[in-house]
């Protein structure tokens, strides 16, 4: 059967036959890099389009419908507009850091793609600390926001950066703890192990209460970490105009914008991998016939389906809820989410030791 895994293996075999191993590796690097960047571009276009359409249908309007069929090419037009716009650098700003900040944002988002298993045997780097790597790299993203806010020489930006820093650093804790709950159940940080462990059922279903609690905390924390409404205080437009990217324009703004959307994709992909089985089809215990039918749906489709479902949930939040206030936001984390997820971790450990999960 044709699968993405087969294709990569045959390409790898052919390259190793044709070239010396070093050159083959180099060519593979180039191919993977190109694919990552094009995935980036496609994700940006698709997610922005999706956001617009989702919001439009929630708000009883049509959304973009002029450029291309059903407005599908609107984001292309916007990208071209952003590319052609002048990128202004405000006077009095720290030019070096101002220009560096969006680059850091996009690089950290790109690095996060590495351990994600897109399909069966289709992964860039299955390193043995997969999940830890994700939380490590995502903590770099906050630096780019702090940098952007500080170097813009703008009060709105600075306030936005302070808010966002406090927010991301605090919500990283409960995001990490809810990830750990699953890691404890699996016994490994490796992405492939986590996916493999869900062959008989997704953790959301077979992990009992701790997995459910962890899933809810993870979704909340992920929304907060990606600065999405109702936690979009860093760019709360009615208070701080645009928060940390007030002064950015043109392509540098587009990079922040792109990084935000790719980060949404990544946290949702992680969520799908941990709780919804990643590329693993929907299996029910020992029901061989049912499981076999499910296996016929390509694994990449399962992965993207789950991820986009979570993305849709996060978009749904955005277009439904009002924004929290900064002190309420931090109270939510430190008074509720963090104690709950700490207790939940203990619960998950107890369940893992006693073997109570399915």
């Amino acid at each position: 059967m044709w699968s993405l895994g087969n294709i990569t293996q045959s390409v790898d075999a052919w390259l190793n036959e044709a070239f010396s191993p070093a050159i083959a590796l180099l060519i593979e690097f180039v191919i993977v890099g190109t694919m990552a960047i094009s995935l980036f571009a496609i994700l940006g276009l698709v997610l922005v389009m999706m956001e617009r359409k989702v919001s439009a249908y929630m708000q009883i309007r049509l959304g973009p419908n002029r450029v291309g069929p059903k407005g599908m090419f609107q984001t292309f037009a916007d990208t071209i507009k952003l590319l052609l716009k002048e990128g202004l650098t405000p006077t009095g700003s720290d030019k070096f850091l101002f220009n560096l900040a969006p680059v850091i944002a996009i690089i950290s988002a790109m690095l996060l793609l590495a351990p994600i298993a897109f399909a069966k045997d289709f992964q860039m780097w299955d390193l043995n600390i997969g999940v830890l790597y994700v939380s490590a790299i995502s903590s770099v993203a906050v630096i780019s926001i702090l940098m952007a806010g500080w170097s813009s020489n703008n009060k709105y930006s600075l306030l936005g950066a302070m808010r966002s820093g406090a927010q991301i650093v605090s919500y990283e804790l409960s995001a990490g703890l809810s990830i750990l709950a699953i890691v404890v159940l699996v016994g490994s940080l490796k992405m492939s192990d986590i996916v493999a462990s869900q062959e008989t059922g997704w953790w959301l279903f077979k992990g009992h209460i701790p997995a459910l609690i962890a899933f809810v905390t993870f979704i909340i924390a992920a929304t907060a970490e990606t600065n999405r409404a109702p936690f979009d205080l860093a760019e709360a437009e009615s208070e701080l105009t645009a928060g940390f990217h007030t002064e950015y324009s043109g392509m540098r703004f587009a990079l922040f914008f792109l990084a935000e959307y790719v980060n949404i994709f990544i946290v949702c992909a992680i969520g799908a991998t941990l709780f919804l089985g990643g590329w693993m089809p929907f299996h029910i215990g020992q029901l061989e016939a049912f499981n076999h039918v499910m296996d016929f749906i390509p694994s990449s489709l399962w992965f993207f389906g789950k991820t986009f479902f979570l993305i849709f949930v996060i978009m749904w939040f955005r277009w439904t809820f009002p924004r929290l206030r900064i002190d309420q936001l931090l109270n939510l984390e430190w008074k509720y989410l963090l104690p709950i997820s700490m207790f939940n971790l203990l619960l998950a450990t107890a369940i893992a030791i006693m073997g109570w999960h399915f």
């Binding site: 009002p322 929290l324 309420q328």
Partner: protein, 371 residues
């Protein structure tokens, strides 16, 4: 006593909210002094759209100046016109036909709903929820359509003139209003479900922007802003004009004194307006829509003051006449101006995110403040 104007400490941050800022619904500039995220002082700077309407009116005749007043509080232009027309009618002692009175009240209440709808959407949008804005516009659009049929305009209507109303009702008026009432009753529950009951929304609004009853009176607040603090100040009840004394409706009072009370007052007022419209829509008396007036109006020498209840509070129209065809001096006591003066008092000690909630519940319309 007045609060002391505190000297700015080192490390305080001064932020301009407006005039070009997403949270100001118009060109209002607020200079906010912040300590971290906590507000120390809010200083409104006005005048970006000041057109000196009072001066303009001094050179316009009593028929003409009504059209300028539509541009003050453009969201309740009917009620502005109504206040001015009442003042002129008081001077000339014109007795209106019943039909004109009923039409005026109907239009006023429709305008009040339209204005509160827009406020509701914008309020939620200020707090970061975009969807309610579009939902509110769905119903508001129906009202503007009704207005367009009868008045020929959608925003600045200029329909109420001294002596009655400009033209008779459109034949479709009753049918469309009834359809609107039905639609509104259906959709208003959606509002409460989406916004009023939302826990984030409530925590953003409760105990925010406290304005005690004494302060509300002292700052001259009127309308829903004061009624959220338990001040009964509804001009329609206290000094009834037209046929308001014959209608059954409640003056909504909330005693929470916070943003959420002001929010509730406005939401409940929409229901009251609907019930007023329901009482009148099938009982519009036949007859003239205008009293017979002279072509050129001349007010006798003297001073005339009328008060009407707009969607934002009490609008006072004060005309000083020397007996000529134009007013000698005209003063509009606009509700927004007084309500805005309470903002500094309310905002002190709150967070910058609260300021948005407070401004939202004051329901500021900037041309009304600047005039």
């Amino acid at each position: 006593m007045l609060e002391e104007v505190s000297v700015i400490d080192q490390g305080d941050m001064i932020i301009n909210i407006g005039p070009q800022h997403p949270s100001t619904h118009g060109v209002l500039q607020l200079v906010v002094t912040l300590n971290g995220e906590t507000i120390k002082k809010v200083e409104p700077h006005l005048g970006y759209i000041h057109r000196s309407i009072e001066k303009m009116c001094e050179s316009l005749s009593y028929r003409q100046f009504i059209y300028v007043t539509s541009r003050m509080d453009y969201l309740s232009s009917h009620i502005n016109n109504h206040g001015c027309a009442l003042c002129v009618e008081k001077g000339l002692q014109i007795e209106l036909p019943e039909r004109a009175k009923v039409i005026r009240v109907l239009m006023d209440e429709l305008t009040r709903i339209a204005s509160h709808e827009l406020w509701w959407g914008a309020m939620a949008m200020d707090l970061g929820a975009f969807t309610p804005f579009f939902l509110a516009f769905r119903e508001r659009e129906t009202i503007t359509d009704i207005m367009e049929d009868t008045c020929g305009a959608r925003l600045t209507m200029n329909y109420i003139v001294p002596g009655g109303v400009m033209a008779d009702l459109h034949p479709d008026f009753q049918r469309k209003v009834k359809a609107f009432i039905k639609l509104f009753r259906e959709k208003a529950d959606q509002y409460n479900e989406l916004v009023t009951g939302n826990i984030i929304f409530q925590s953003r609004m409760k105990n925010v922007g406290i304005l005690s009853k004494e302060d509300a009176i002292s700052y001259g607040c009127t309308g829903p802003t004061a009624r959220g603090s338990g001040v009964n100040c509804d001009i329609r009840k206290l000094y009834p004009y037209e046929i308001y004394d014959k209608l059954k409706f409640d003056e909504i009072l909330e005693t929470g004194c916070d943003s959420f009370s002001r929010y509730l007052v406005r939401v409940k007022e929409m229901y009251q307006s609907i019930s007023i419209i329901e009482q009148l829509i099938d009982n519009i008396p036949e007859g003239d829509f205008q009293a017979k007036t002279k072509a050129v109006l001349k007010l006798p020498k003297g001073e005339f003051y009328t008060r009407v209840e707009t969607a934002r509070g009490e609008l006072g129209v004060y005309i000083v006449s020397e007996g000529g065809t134009t007013p000698y001096r005209i003063k509009f006591r606009s509700p927004g101006f007084s309500n805005l003066s309470a903002l500094n008092h309310m905002a002190k000690g709150g967070k910058i995110g609260d300021l948005v909630a407070m401004m939202g519940t004051l329901d500021l319309v900037i041309p009304d403040i600047d005039r």
